[in-house]
Amino acid sequence: MSGLPTLRIATAGSVDDGKSTLIGRLLHDTSAVLDDQLRAVERASRRWGDGGLNLALLTDGLRAEREQGITIDVAHRYFSTPRRSFVVADSPGHAQYTRNMVTAASMADVAIVLVDARRGVVEQTRRHAFVAALVGVGRIVLAVNKMDLIGWDDADFRSIAKGLTEYVEALPAPPPVDAVPISALHGDNVVALSARSPWYDGPPLLELLEQAARRPVPSVGARLDVQWCIRHGASDYRGVAGRLTGGPLRVGDPVSIAPGAMATTVAGIDRAGRPLDTAEPGQAVTVVLADDVDVARGDVVLGVAGVDRPIATTEVCADVCWMTETPLVTGGRLLFKHGTRAGTATVTGIDHRVDVGTLERSPVDRLELNDLGRVNLSLSTPIVASPYRVHAESGRLVLIDAADHATAAAAMIHELEPAS
């Protein structure tokens, strides 16, 4: 056991890059695979595989996945080493790649992007790196897999690593990139360094993960998006429940209720029914306010102290990952959710679409499934927001199809206009 916090990892790669095999390898070599699971994989390997133990079948558990040898949806896996525990969100590389990558990477600390050493960096690799950087992962690990199939060629590896690093460095907010030459199939440089790559002077993949930092918590003022108001008649208890982001928030702190401007102070904080003096970012709490102010779901309790305070606005410019078949068009009307506030969002303009290969921005009149672009939105009700890069929890929206309620887009606020 150690004090290191759990690391959230997203994995991405193209079809046949060996991603499921890599995760199977990590699970297997850290003893996260138990005997009955291994027996089941042995049985399935005989049925679906080519003879040997197919570690990919540890994660590809659905019928269609086994029959077609592909990964369909994001799978979550849990493993740990003596130093740290890990949650892996494994994102498939083929169809629906943007929606899956966004689901997997949106909360991740580290994105492992796999490439096949024989093919090097392809468009899919760049797309995954682009989305990972856009949603704000702290680090990208480029795993150059199947090194055995290119004879562990040092120069090829360096050229692939250089290609992706240069691409990422050209992005607006580039995370650091580490590259590791591996063979997931044979386990080289995954858990332990391999004798086949004496020229590689970095740590094995698992060690990189053990040392990686969590996403930093931005130093912004306390924010609580009100989910629910809790009342208890007998004791006259009245509290607002939600998850604290930013902060900390202490009993006695002055706060305001946004988007209005009512001011009050924190009279008490409970977490899971127990009193706290100080609530930290990430904690699910109930805050009792000193005055009987009007506060409801969708409002935001804001600490008065702190830099980069969010502002109320109905006009935002946001980067969106479009994740549904119906295209986004100018004038289109969607539902939105920001924190706990919901309303309608009208697309007032499409600024551009990004070509993830060249990073070129082009004017378009629509965004199609899996497109990435920047749009202007006009909201039916004000939100209390910051740019995503300042405070992710204040700067992110989910856009919802008004007809079928599908989750249509993840949107990250680039700029906002104060409410007039």
Binding site: T6, A40, R77, Y78, S85, M107, G273
Partner: protein
Amino acid sequence: MIGSLTDELVDEAITIVREVTAECEQPVLLFSGGKDSAVLLHVAVAAFAPGRLPFPVLHVDTGHNFPEALEFRDRLVASIGAQLLVASVQDSIDRGRVVEEPGPRASRNRLQSVTLLDAIAEHGFDAAFGGGRRDEDKARAKERILSFRDRSGGWDPRRQRPEPWDVLNARVHRGQHLRAFPLSNWTELDIWRYVAAEELELPSIYYAHERAVVQRDGMLLAVGGPVSPETGEAVSVETVRYRTVGDMSCTGAVRSTATTVDEVIIEVAAARITERGATRADDAFSEAAMEDRKREGYF
């Protein structure tokens, strides 16, 4: 070993319970008397404390329960003042909604999907909280926190809503409902760490005790209720405990001497067999047993 993850997991679970409750009209919490649903209920009560639990608790009763689990259910629900609804598989059989499997090894496990869906329709529930965890099974590992179900309750792994961040989109259509899994990211060990930290009571059969069992399909099945020894099966008294508590006809015991929470935690941390692999005949039918049942409306 997993460090102090449990606190983060509790914050996540409370946030999910509150959000789905706020966005949906008629939520319900599915409660089996097992450890996961006991933890879920405890977390849900904490999410709204000191207010009352704003939704009822539903038990889908196969009629093949361990008596200890039923007794625990009634006591727990009474102690928190929750409203308990019971949907009975026997009623579904009596009303002709389902047909009992023939033979001495008949299980009602699969039948309960129909009973559950009927109860959801009858009460107009649009969201059902469940204690499912992603580490239980490879099909569950692919299920989102919010799992949308069509009119027949079916789960389509190819058409799941993306879940960016923790901003949940819980909007359902009329006739649709969703299953919400606040404990998705918990492991078996996390559950036990929570039980230890909160000094949570569980049915006594989670701890080592002596029991008359028969060995069948590689599992130790308790003799009694729906299970009788078949020809050639020897009944023996063993010191066992349960890692999962489900229908008596398909839930196996494991040999164990762990009589306290701390001893169970040590045992679980060292286990080389998954909890469902060790104890559930229902998942041993085929390599995709859980996926198949989920497509039919299972939890």
